[in-house]
């Protein structure tokens, strides 16, 4: 079984989307560190904010952005495989529709989140 995942483009893509987990984990750890700094008081939190502004941090977050966006893309793309078939009016919903609904949900959720943050901040 060694190197099985190199044998076929389908497997390579699978390994790529599986590897987004590293970036999800790394980002969650960044948030955990932020939470820790927040609990240590204002100075610590401000230090964390400063660190986020460093070019390295920006670059790393851009990488996270791409990886997690790819995770979202593939997560919903697999919905026809992973979710029970949806039957509407006695007809099975087409896989393309299921995937499209997932992607739309992700976009809506993102915009709602942005809107909420914007409202809280303003």
């Amino acid at each position: 079984m060694d190197g099985w995942w190199k044998k076929n483009p389908y497997y390579v893509e699978y390994m790529v989307h599986e590897s987004t987990a590293f970036f999800v984990a790394a980002y969650a750890i960044v948030l955990l560190v932020g939470l820790l700094r927040l609990s240590q008081g204002e100075a610590a939190w401000n230090g964390f904010l400063e660190a986020l502004k460093s070019p390295l941090s920006i670059v790393v977050h851009l990488v996270f952005l791409v990886a997690i966006a790819y995770h979202a893309f593939t997560w919903f793309k697999l919905f026809p495989l992973t979710m029970p078939p949806m039957i509407v009016n006695g007809k099975r919903v087409e896989p393309g529709v299921v995937v499209g609904t997932g992607w739309t949900a992700a976009i809506v959720a993102s915009l709602v989140l942005l809107g909420l943050v914007w409202r809280i901040a303003a």
Binding site: W4, K7, Y11, Y14, L78
Partner: protein
């Protein structure tokens, strides 16, 4: 007749009584545009080497015998055409993830054992006599399971599944799809009995949703979906079994 062309077919040969390990042999096979890869293999057997060994029968993609790796992809050789590869070489090998018995013949006994274990028959919800006539099944009830009845047991999905390669005991796509086929049938009441295996260590959670099984399935059974839906069912059974007194699994 159309013009005859020659294609190179590279076959992974393995004769257990004389070979230490599988090796490749290349045959130059004349073909016409209507010839399948299976017919290519038959040509080799008839004309070059009668010892070349492979399973085949119906030639129309319904008996499920003639699956092999064709240029690394699990396919039914009877419905894969030489013309689609020409002028490149075709490589044929025994199905991946099974032990090879000889040349293109693999040992399917583990698959059969799993298929038998899953109780692939109606365990009647309400038994019925012949005098009572047939069960009534609405179009909606019929639509629930019919797709999963199309499996021809060709085992291409096992050759496509890396998790089968990693754990030979994993029930695998086709067998889980077969269990699902009966679970979803309105005549059947055996879901609880089949849950024991689906929720077991060798059951549905071996799957990591690669999805290639459904991709290679020649009959559009979508076994990957059956496996994943049963992760949800098995999880329900796991968390809710204490609520329901008849929970199937131990």
């Amino acid at each position: 007749m159309s013009e005859q062309k020659i294609i190179e077919i590279e076959v992974l040969r393995y004769l257990p009584e004389s070979d230490q390990a599988p090796h490749s042999e290349i045959y130059k096979v004349p073909f016409t545009d209507d010839m399948s890869v299976l017919q290519g293999a038959q040509y080799i057997k008839d004309n070059f080497d009668g010892s070349l060994t492979f399973r085949w029968s119906c030639r129309m993609a319904i008996c499920g015998s003639c699956g092999m790796m064709i240029n690394g992809v699990p396919k039914l050789s009877c419905e894969t055409f030489i013309r689609d590869y020409y002028p490149n070489r075709i490589t044929i090998e025994a199905l991946a993830n099974f032990p090879i018995e000889k040349d293109l013949v693999v040992d399917l006994s583990s698959f059969i054992e799993k298929l038998e274990a899953i109780q692939p028959y109606i365990i009647p919800k309400e038994p019925r006599t012949v005098e009572q006539g047939e069960y009534i099944q609405s179009p909606a009830q019929f639509a629930e399971y019919i797709q999963y009845t199309s499996c021809i047991n060709c085992t291409l999905c096992y050759a496509a599944c890396p998790q089968v390669g990693l754990n030979q005991n994993f029930l695998g796509p086709a067998v889980i799809a077969l269990a699902h086929r009966y679970n979803m049938d309105s005549r059947d009441g055996g879901q609880d009995q089949r849950m024991e295996l689906l929720a077991s260590m060798d059951g549905v959670y071996n799957c990591s949703a690669v999805g290639y099984c459904s991709e290679v399935c020649p009959k559009h059974v979508d076994p990957g979906n059956a496996v994943n839906v049963n992760k949800i069912n098995a999880a329900k059974d796991y968390f809710l079994r204490f609520l329901s007194p008849k929970g199937g699994s131990k």
